[in-house]
């Protein structure tokens, strides 16, 4: 997962937003399939551990949603059979599958998002809008783990003195309360040192800048351009009604006009983009390796 994780946060953010928007608001079977496949392939390149279990989870979720829809929705004209006197329709089945595809697709993309958009990238993007916010969040992120560690230490110290070391509920609650009291004093004391350290390094002067390690490279620009272009096509298509697709009362035919084909290709490319980058990188590495 190196290639896509290393692009500029602004680019990856734009990318995730556009894919998520399309897969949520354009319920078209071809587009959804593309987004789903793209998301699945992307996730597959992300992490090695726990993938088998994940696939099981998504499959079950998919089947559940796909089956649930026809059980409750009886729209559509093509009746397949009756269950407890209720008509099960072909259209409802298809719509269920489409819905399931959308939900699973969005989940997969969200998973990829959380892997790629780490807290520092998020801070970098939105810290610009609210300069103080990024520092506040950064110090909070710093403080929480040390707070937790201190609370563990205090808990142990108290236990080793034999104070409320019992396992009963009252003992435990009392112990928690005492630890909390100690932690308040400790964090105030700590905050004094931290604020001295901040002041000693000139915090509070006017004209503070915000530094980050991210660089906007030429390749990021190209990627961003491609992203926007590929996003624009389906949006234009949606505006013209090309991507409109109805399941009820009868399933529409999938459009195959030139415009539609262009849109399908565009979204296909967009959703496969990270996977393609990943594969390109892997192939390049193989190639360099073989030359060494």
């Amino acid at each position: 997962m190196r290639a896509f994780a290393n692009v500029h946060p602004a680019v990856s953010m734009t990318y995730f937003l556009s894919v998520l928007l399309i897969s949520m608001f354009l319920p078209h079977p071809i587009l959804q399939t593309e987004a789903l496949i793209g998301g699945a392939l992307f996730c597959a390149t992300l992490k090695k551990r726990g993938r088998a279990g994940d696939i099981g989870f998504y499959l079950i979720l998919f089947v559940m949603i796909a089956i649930t829809n026809p059980l409750f929705s009886h729209n559509g004209v093509t009746i397949l059979f009756f269950l407890n006197g209720n008509p099960m329709t072909f259209e409802a089945f298809l719509y269920g599958i489409s819905l399931a595809g959308m939900v699973v697709g969005v989940l997969l993309w969200c998973k990829a998002y959380s892997e790629i958009m780490t807290s520092d990238k998020f801070l970098y993007l939105f810290g610009k809008a609210v300069p103080k916010l990024s520092l506040v969040l950064s110090t909070a992120l710093r403080f929480i783990p040390s707070y937790l560690r201190m609370s563990r230490q205090v808990g142990r110290a108290q236990k080793a003195m034999g104070l409320y070391a019992g396992k009963s509920l009252t003992d435990r609650v009392k112990n928690r309360m005492r630890v909390l009291a100690a932690l308040v004093a400790w964090s105030l004391e700590n905050a004094m040192d931290t604020s001295a350290s901040m002041k000693a390094r000139g915090y509070g002067k006017k004209g503070r800048t915000s530094f980050s390690l991210f660089r906007f490279r030429r390749s990021d620009g190209i990627l961003l351009g491609a992203c926007i272009f590929l996003l624009a096509l389906p949006i234009v298509g949606a505006a013209l009604g090309v991507t409109e697709f109805n399941y009820y009362p009868r399933v529409d035919k999938i459009e195959t006009s030139f415009m539609a084909l262009v849109i399908y290709t565009a979204l296909g490319l967009l959703s496969l983009l990270p996977f393609i980058l990943e594969v390109k990188e892997a192939v390049l590495w193989k190639y360099y390796r073989s030359k060494i």
Binding site: A165, A185, T194, S212
Partner: protein, 554 residues
């Protein structure tokens, strides 16, 4: 050229009845390495903080502080004077190492490209590249302190002030830190003003030492002369015991020769001037049949199933009524061993018995009147807003009358010398005092076995001496004391038995004299000086004794 000049500086905290600083005058030359030392509470921190305008304490101030001959004014740049505090943990502001390095530069309003270059420069100067993108939370104390130094240095100060920067570090991290300081001073010509209580490493590299006493400058001289001038003032000046081993030995034998500072010079001094007929000091025997207070048999421990073992088959016998010291480096498993003994962690294999009874069988009875642990950070012991309330709290659970409780508190306070601290808030007192108060609280549960985790961390030589006295008294009363420590000198002076732990195993346990005499690196400075001259001389006192008995060379 004088970079800093302090003239007749007096300072008094609000509501205090005496001045914290009294007519302090000194100056620092550009490029000098100056060490400030003195008893804790002598005004070191107050003085250093006054020199840094942004964090100067509030109170009545008179006298002048001149920086390059000018009075500091409002426009004075925060970046010009760098300040590093004692606690590595609380100085780190942000969550990422690179962000911490950039923090001061962001405050100065520098453009991104300049920050990028300076951050890169600092990271490579201090060897931070390897953990540049890490979270600050994952760093060790030593790394955090190096990071604090680097992020101050990134602002390109012309004067660096450090307030006991190695106080919370283990000896190896402390030596690394001092080496980094020396590098800055030598290679960049930066002026360094450092307050320190561990003088062994900084004494030889300092250009000048300033001794502060009761808010006044007692001495200001080169390190070679400090020993002589201190003993001129008083033969038993309390500051003498804080000096490096070589100086203490030199002062102890009362020689009329140039003062040695390092182990090498000290060794040379002893070899040249004293006759060595291979005198061997007697080593007391360990009584074999002594009853065991704590016994570990083949103890294995790991924190999680997938993690490596921290203790691998530890076997250990702690005889009753002795001071037992476990030494070892970082990550050797010292603290884990102590936690296993204290029942805070459970060994997955092997047997731990306390007072002949397996630790598994004494669930409720393990702590009160039996065993107590004083953790590394004494602050974790306090939960109330005064020392007295904290001491009272532990007695409340023991179901004794109010009067009896008061009596016991006064008794323990007298014993540990904390009577005048009882009304104070536990966070308002110094590290050494905090430790004594925490010890008082722990002792009120009337343990027979006392476990101490790094008892000398962050306390000065006087507090150490005091602690030693307390431990001896507890031993006399029949208590068993087990401590884990990095502090070789302290173990050599206090312990009856020393054990060495490495890679999760206890390798050897012996009387300190034998233990240290057989180690060649992991031993006291005094022993390193006297190695090969006299056998079994481990502490400064013992080396002095040998010198005086064997006599000077003709």
């Amino acid at each position: 050229m004088e970079i800093l000049q302090v003239e007749n500086l007096s300072f008094r905290y609000p509501k205090a009845d005496q001045n914290a600083l009294e007519k302090v005058s000194f100056s620092v030359q550009s490029g000098e390495f100056v060490v400030l030392c003195g008893h804790s509470g002598c005004g070191k921190t107050t003085l250093l903080r006054l020199l840094k305008k942004e964090i100067a304490p509030v109170g009545e101030k008179s006298g002048q502080i001149l920086y390059r001959g000018n009075l500091r004014d409002v426009q004075f740049d925060a970046g010009k004077v760098g300040f590093v505090q004692q606690n590595p943990e609380s100085q780190v502001v942000t969550d990422k190492v690179w962000h911490e390095l950039a923090f001061g530069l962001e405050n100065m309003g520098l453009p991104s490209e300049v920050i990028r270059r300076r951050v890169g420069e600092m990271a490579s100067f201090f060897g931070i590249e390897g953990w540049f993108r890490q979270r600050t939370e994952q760093l060790s104390g030593g790394q955090k302190q190096i990071l604090n130094l680097a992020s101050v240095m990134a602002m390109q100060p012309s004067l660096l002030i450090l307030d006991e920067p190695t106080g919370q570090l283990d000896p190896i991290a402390a030596a690394d830190f001092i080496a980094a300081l020396q590098k800055i001073n030598r290679e960049l010509g930066l002026t360094v003003l450092l307050s320190e209580h561990r003088l062994e490493e900084v004494f030889p590299i300092a250009d000048r030492v300033i001794v502060l006493e009761n808010g006044q400058v007692l001495l200001s001289d080169s390190p070679k002369n400090i020993g002589a001038r201190l003993s001129e003032i008083s033969k038993n000046h309390p500051m003498l015991c804080a000096l490096p081993a070589a100086v203490r030995i030199w002062q102890g034998v009362g020689a009329d020769l140039p003062c040695p500072l390092t182990v090498r010079e000290g060794r040379d001094f002893l070899e040249r001037n004293y006759t060595c007929r291979g005198k061997a000091l007697p080593v007391p025997e360990i009584p074999n049949e002594a009853e065991c207070a704590i016994e570990l048999k083949n103890v294995w421990f790991r924190y999680e199933k997938d993690l490596p073992d921290v203790l691998r088959g530890v076997a250990l016998k702690v005889p009753r009524g002795k001071i037992f010291s476990v030494l070892g480096g970082n990550g050797a498993g010292k603290t884990t061993l102590l936690n296993v003994m204290a029942g805070l962690e459970k060994a997955y294999r092997g047997r731990v018995s306390v007072g002949g009874k397996s630790i598994k069988d004494c669930k409720g009875s393990l702590y009160r009147n039996n065993l107590a642990l004083l953790p590394q950070n004494p602050q974790t012991v306090f939960v109330k807003d005064s020392v007295r309330a904290d001491l009272m709290e532990i007695l409340k659970t023991m179901e004794i009358s109010e009067n009896e409780a008061k009596k016991r508190i006064n008794a323990i306070a007298d014993k540990l010398g904390i009577s005048d601290l009882l009304c104070r808030h536990p966070y308002d007192i110094s590290g050494g005092e905090q430790q004594k108060c925490a010890l008082a609280k722990v002792l009120l549960s009337e343990p027979k076995i006392l476990l101490l985790d790094e008892p000398t961390k962050g306390i000065d030589a006087f507090a150490k001496k005091n602690l030693k006295k307390i431990l001896f008294e507890l031993k006399r009363e029949g208590m068993t004391v087990i401590m884990v420590t990095h502090d070789v000198e302290f173990a050599a002076e206090c312990a009856d038995i020393c054990a060495f732990i490495f890679d999760g195993e206890v390798l050897c346990a012996d009387m300190p004299q034998k233990f240290f005499a057989e180690n060649s690196f992991y031993t006291t400075a005094a022993n390193r000086m006297a190695r090969g001259l006299w056998k079994n001389a481990v502490t400064c006192e013992q080396v002095i004794e040998c010198c005086l008995e064997e006599g000077e060379k003709q």
